[in-house]
Structure formats: C-alpha cells, structure tokens
C-alpha cells in the first residue's frame, strides 16, 4: 500500500487538495462547475469530499472535507487509495479504469470528468508536493 494508514492518506491527499483549492486556474474551474465530488478509498480507508457548491471557510475556491460528512455528493467514486495516488500522478487511464472497475463512479460522471483537462496541471504538482515532503517514491 502506498499509504500506510488512513492518517497518512488524509495527511498526503488532504493537504494536497487543500493546497490546490487556492490555485487560481484549477480552483476557479472547479468552483464554476459547482460540483460536489466524494471519493471513498480503501486500503487504507478514507473519505475525501470536494464541495464547490458554496463558499470555502478558508477562502479557497472550494471546500475540502476529510472523513465522513452529511454532504450528499453529486458524483461518488470508490477506488483503492493506491489508484488515487496513481491518478494524481497522471498515470491512470481513467476510461480504462472505469471499464475495469478499478474506479466505480456513481452519478452524472460526465460532469466530473469534464474537469479532467482543467486538473491536468495537478499531476505534476502532486509529484512536486510528494518530493517536497520527502515522499518522491512513496511506494518504498
């Protein structure tokens, strides 16, 4: 497993998403979509929700909620945490992953997937983020 436990998953992915929400380009496009997406991870378990339907208390373009929440997502995806890690490194063919059930997506998927071009810069940012934290190769 890339992430040793849920705390580490929230620490890495949570911190990364919370940084991204201040990004002018990506953040704006996500907010304009007004989407609420929730990812439920396994191995280790974790839930991350991005709510772009309203204001973020921290002043970002969207709100990041770590852990269970009452907010009802429009799009809900489940996957292994390792797949999420690979995705944010830009190494996952999303269409193939959906077809192979590596990612299971419920809801108006196109609305979420329409954001894919917008979030492409996040892939290199994630690699940089991991390197900054001394996690350039988290699988080790």
């Amino acid at each position: 497993m890339i992430f040793r436990n849920s705390d580490e998953l929230y620490d890495i992915l949570g911190t990364f998403f919370n940084q991204l929400k201040f990004d002018e380009e990506m953040g704006k496009q996500i907010r304009n979509s007004k989407i609420i997406v929730q990812w439920e991870y396994s191995d280790p378990p974790g839930i991350v929700t991005i709510d772009a339907s309203g204001d973020d208390p921290d002043g970002g373009f969207y709100q990041v909620i770590l852990g269970p929440t009452d907010i009802k997502p429009e799009v809900y995806m489940t996957m292994k945490a390792d797949i999420a890690h690979e995705f944010w490194l830009g190494k996952v063919n999303l269409l193939a992953a959906l077809s192979r059930r590596q990612i299971v997506a419920k809801g108006p998927i196109p609305k979420a997937l329409k954001l894919l071009p917008a979030i492409k810069p996040a892939y290199s940012r994630y690699a940089e983020f991991l390197a900054e934290r001394g996690r350039a190769d988290p699988s080790v």
């Binding site: 063919n93 269409l95 077809s99 997506a105 419920k106 809801g107 998927i109 196109p110």
Partner: protein, 392 residues
C-alpha cells in the same frame, strides 16, 4: 501502443429468415414458466409480427403478464417508473422489448429499478449495479440502435432536459432476435435515419480513443455493409435483402461501440434530442460529417483506414487526402439518403431555432461521449459545428 482493451459480448444473437419471431419457441424455451412484461410502442404493438411473437411465447410456456405500449420517441424517467409499476403489479420476472432504441433502453432501465429498487436517477454511473437482472429479450425493429447488444441505456430526464447515462455489463440483453420481417414495414425515412445512426456508431467506434483490434472488426464490417446496402434498402421494392443486411450491420455496429463507445457526433446528437426533440438517427445524420471533419485534424489515419477497409475509398499516398475522401464519400451517402427520403439536411429543416444554440452547446459539452472523442473540443468548436449545419 494500446493501453488496455477487452472484448465482452454476452448477448446471444439469433437471426434468420423473415418470420423468425413466429418460430422462436426453441430460443425462448430457457425462460419457460416466467411471466413476461413486454415493452413496445403504440405502432409496433399492432403489427402482425408482434402477434407472431406472442404465439412463440405461448408455445415456449411464457405467460405475457403485462404489455406497456406507450413508450415515446425519447423515453424518460417517468415512463420507466410507470413501466416498473405495471410490471411489478403483474409480478413479471422477465422483460421483452420490441422496438427501437428508446423502447430497448426503457426496458433496460426498467430492469434496473425492478431488481434494485429506488429511483432511476440513483443509478446513473458506470458499473455500479450489484444485483442480478431479469432475463431481457430484445427485438430491435429499426436498423440503427445497436442497443440490443450493448451495456448502455440512455434515458431522458425531462426535469432538466438532460439525459441519464446508465452503463453496466449487466445491462447487456440476454437474447437479441434479428427478424428481417420487422424492417420491411419501416418507412424509408426511418430506414435512412436509423442506418445513418448505425453508420455513426461504426465510424465513431473506430476512431474513438478506446478503439481496439477486436472492436475494429465489427465497425469495419458494419460500415461496409451499410455503404453497400443503404441505397437499395431505400428503394420502394426489392429491398428485402438490403434491409436484412442493414439490420445485421446495426447489431455489428452496436458490438463495436459497446467497446469503444461513441464520440463528438453523439454528444451533439444527444443535445439535439434533449433540447430540440430531434430523433436520434436524424441528429447523428445531421452532425456526422462535421464530427468527422473536426476529428480529421487528430486522427486522419483512423478515418482514412476505415474509409479504405469499409470500401468508401481507395487508399491514396497521402493519409489526409484519404481521410478527406472518406468524409466526402460519407457525405455523399448521407446526401443520397436524405434526398431520397426527405430527412432533414440542416438543423433548421429539422426544426432547430437559432436561439436554441447556446443550450445545445452547453448540453453537448457536458455529454459523456466527448470523453471518448480523439480530439478535445471547446464550447466554440461545438458552436461552430452547429452553426455550419444550421441552415446549410
């Protein structure tokens, strides 16, 4: 190098001479003792072949417990729930669809809510079904849907003029019955429009991001068969063999796009259906060459390749020239179909108003088909394509 592909086509397909529906008892025998709910439309329910199917069902020991014959051109969530209520009240444990894409997709959607409960909107998504579905027997009555062999259903949500996409391997019908007889009473307009739908399936499946050598075979065979038979199928007589082959081609194109999905032409066609109520085959026919032209900047090689393999053109030294010749040949085939039957050649002829363009663009841009398209499209790209087809 292709990243990943798979080929899975679980539907049993049977075909044969005209009148097969009246001799279908052997193929229906596995469902003996079940109570069938039949989904169809107001016209098809009165056809002679519908009575033939009922005879076969009785012979196979299947009771027709309920018939719903009010499925409209673009079925929606309310229709699905109405059929579900009817079939549940009559304790149906198998579903039979006799009709075009709207009827078949309705039957698939009914199958979901009957076996999983709740509302259809809860099941938007990909591969989220968990329960075994009821047996589904499908009799396609057009030459275009392909839904008889796909894992996809598209149902309108009239509340917000969007379409719900339901995708799951479990949605693939159990049995598809290709009786040529059902195509003989089709008006030429419907033959032309649905054949253009099937041709769009084949061409988009071939050039899409998820194409594979296995899907390619079906796409090429379908496109070739449509090219070779469409004109004859539209003649006032002597069309039996040609329409039979169009029926096969439609199913083959369905197998192709079940694997690589469709692209930008369908994104625009879905929008035209949802916003302006344009029949799906007509909508695809209207936007097909625009979509090919748009994609030719990215995948000229694939367009040229299917053009040659399906017999539209001879290979030239220059790939781009071959792709352009392919698009021109497809446009010529389309023009023949339109002019001999009177199906619209412009959006205005189809009843689209200029003031609908912004909503059409918005809906097309959020359509899932775009994800499989080889070239990324902006809102402006799509607007320009609609503009070019608006009034010729």
């Amino acid at each position: 190098m292709i990243d990943f592909f798979q080929f899975y086509s679980p539907t049993r397909i049977v075909g044969g001479k005209p009148g097969l529906l009246g001799q279908l008892a052997p193929e229906l025998a596995p469902f003996a003792g079940l109570r069938a709910g039949i989904v169809t439309d107001p016209v098809l329910g009165t056809m002679i072949y519908f009575r033939s199917l009922e005879t076969s069902l009785a012979e196979a020991g299947i009771e027709v417990a309920a018939v719903y014959q009010d499925v409209p051109q673009d079925s929606d969530v309310d229709v699905v729930h109405a059929v579900r209520d009817l079939f549940a009240a009559n304790r149906c444990d198998m579903i039979i669809a006799v009709g075009g894409g709207s009827v078949i997709d309705t039957a698939k959607a009914v199958n979901i809510v009957m076996t999983h409960g709740g509302e259809l909107r809860d099941y938007q998504g990909a591969h989220i079904l968990t329960e075994t579905l009821l047996p589904l027997v499908v009799v396609p009555t057009t030459v275009g849907t392909g839904s008889e062999v796909t894992m996809v259903a598209v149902i309108a949500d009239s509340q917000d003029k969007r379409k719900l996409t339901l995708l799951d391997h479990r949605l693939s019908p159990t049995l598809a019955v290709l009786d040529p007889q059902v195509t003989f009473s089709l008006p030429p307009k419907l033959v032309a429009a649905t054949a253009m739908d099937a041709l769009t399936h084949a061409l988009e499946a071939y050039i899409d991001l998820e194409h594979s050598p296995f899907g390619d075979l079906w796409a090429v065979a379908a496109a070739d068969m449509i090219r070779d038979n469409l004109a004859t199928a539209l003649q006032p007589e002597g069309f039996a063999e040609a329409r039979t082959r169009l029926q096969w081609a439609s199913t083959m194109a369905g197998i192709a796009f079940n694997h690589s999905m469709v692209g930008i032409v369908h994104a625009m066609a879905h929008a035209l259906g949802a916003v302006a109520k344009i029949p799906h085959g007509v909508a695809n026919s209207l936007m097909l060459t625009e979509g090919l032209q748009f994609n030719s900047e990215e995948v000229a090689d694939r367009i040229a390749d299917i053009g040659v393999r399906a017999g539209f053109v001879k290979a030239m030294v220059d790939t781009s020239a071959t792709a352009q010749a392919t698009i021109a040949a497809v446009a010529a085939l389309r023009a023949t179909a339109c002019r001999s039957t009177g199906i619209p050649e412009t959006l205005v002829q189809a009843g689209v108003r200029r003031d609908q363009l912004p909503l059409l663009v918005e809906r097309a841009c959020e359509d899932g088909s775009l994800l499989y398209n080889p070239r990324q499209a902006t809102d402006d790209d799509i607007l320009q394509m609609f503009e070019r087809v608006l009034d010729g």
